[in-house]
Amino acid sequence: VRLGLWPSLLTSVVSALAYNYFFTEPYHTFTISDPKDVIAVVFFAVVAVIVSNVAAQARIRLLGAMERSRTTESLYAFSRKLAGAGTIDDVLWATAHQIAAMLKVRVVLLLPENGSIAVKAGYPPEDRLDEADLAAAKWAWAKNRPAGRDSDALPGAKWLFFPMRTGRGQIGILGICRDEPGPLLRAEQRRLLDALSDQGALAIERVHLVEDIERVRRVAETDRLRSALLTSISHDLKTPLAAILGSAGALRDLSHSFDDNAKADLLATIVDESERLNRFIANLLDMTRLEAGAVVPNAALHDVGEIVGSALERASKILARHRVEVEISPDLPMVNVDAVLFEQVLFNLLDNAAKYAPAETTVRIQSWQEQDSVKLQVLDEGEGIPAADLERIFDKFYRARKGDQVRAGTGLGLAISRGFIEALHGTITAANRTDRTGAAFTITLSIPKAAVQEVAA
């Protein structure tokens, strides 16, 4: 009964003949002499045929149910796979693969591009259609109707193309092909293809929508940044410029009315404000490089202490009124960083500490190993960071609220620091100190495998 109708019918006939051969007189012939035996043989044969038929029907129903359940399972697995696919390529590949596997056909998917359509995915991977097939695909796209092999339109093509649609309209074109001649799809396969195609179309549409939303968000973000940038530039460029121009003009025009101290003071203002302007422009350039994707780290193994020393040297003027403590574990391994970028990050953190922690307080730099990573912290003794701002201070142009006497930062230093540290595959976080008030910035870098500790003399 497991083998279907024809094998069971055959068994019935063989059984009837065997009965005839072995159990009716004359034995060992297929002739029957007793009319009762004829009735018996016919009766057996009829019963056998009926039973075969019932069994075969049951088997067909069972197979059908199993097939449907497998199809349902596959469709369910497919929809889950699509839901997890993040990019258009993932969605297209999953769709092509699924259709190819379930219908034993070759598959191509075409999406609109530059006013026409182009092959975007295929399974087995294949990017090219010949002229006739491409013409059929384009016809299907233009008319929103199936075209090509087995269809009414352009049946000379080797491939059969269907529009992929969602409630919002046509999304793309699905093409199938098999090397063997003959009809490509039976009716129930066609229904399955429609189901798969619909699911694929919805997933493609979803990805498109997400991309649209992302694009709109980026445009809005860019606008917000542009206006913040303008505000920031007009403030950060103009304030030092005003001080420089004013001081220089006063020295030129009113020189006779100043004593030597006043002159020295004005000159110091010119130098200090020029340096501030220089730092701001450097920040703008760094930010521009980051945003343009032009930051390509030139990573090599470096000594943390050396880079800290260099950053401290460059920040010495900014930190002139603070105490500085450095504690670096003596056996700290080297880290794999771009020294220029990493030094800039440290400089920005020191600059930040100098701005937000009052004069005469201590700025502390400590670095140590923790499992497979090197930690570096810059700690200050300022007021700390409001909890709500701990993440936002890394946003471009975000400036923590502060007292009047504190100089405004550029709102770029920490954003650049995070950008650079991420380019070095590390992390940077902000927190408040637990031992006292003050901010704590922590950089975490993983330890490279090939670092040398000491070398033989």
């Binding site: 020029s274 050396e306 260099s310 080297m334 030094e343 003399a457």
Partner: protein
Amino acid sequence: MSSAGVKILVVDDEPPIRKLLRMGLTSQGYEVLEASNGKVALELLAKKPALVILDLGLPDIDGHDLLSRIRSREENLPIIVLSSRGDEAGKVAALDLGADDYVTKPFGMDELFARMRAAMRHQLQVHGERPVFHVGDLSVDLVRRIVKVGDREVRLSPKEYDLLRLLVQHAGKVLTHRFLIQELWDEPTDPQYLRVYVRQLRQKIEADPERPQYIMTEIGIGYRMRAPD
């Protein structure tokens, strides 16, 4: 060292920078030759300047090209390039092409004068080193190979001493990682070994190795020994 009558060739296309350099250099007694482009710069070499200040960004010729052309005509002429922050690769390339040092724009006059002094001092010294080098508490006797910090004699390994000697012989000048590695090792060597030696040397001669006073780090470029007092 008197700078009276010593000629300095300034190559920069920006008139305000040339003016600033002219005023600053003249105030120190130097005679200034000015070139706003590479062509004029090459012509002015005939006037035998004692040092060239070269901006790498020129309108008519690539700064690095001009640098090699000057170097090919005047092997020992000190050249200091003006460069911008963030262009470490450009600075290293200039130093490898034979520039003696660089100054990052914007720069202070005192910094430029210090670089010029170091470059010209080294040129005068090429054929006769001072036997004992002093800077701060550090003294290095290049003849007897004795290194002292204050009164304390410092024991260095041969490699550490070679590194220190190189830095001292070029005191005030930046030395690139590549130059130091070439001088210290016979085969190509990973720069991290150089960094390890620098760290060990600093631990022996610096009061606070994290805030060095003698061996200065030029991030992305190399090292510089502080010029003698």
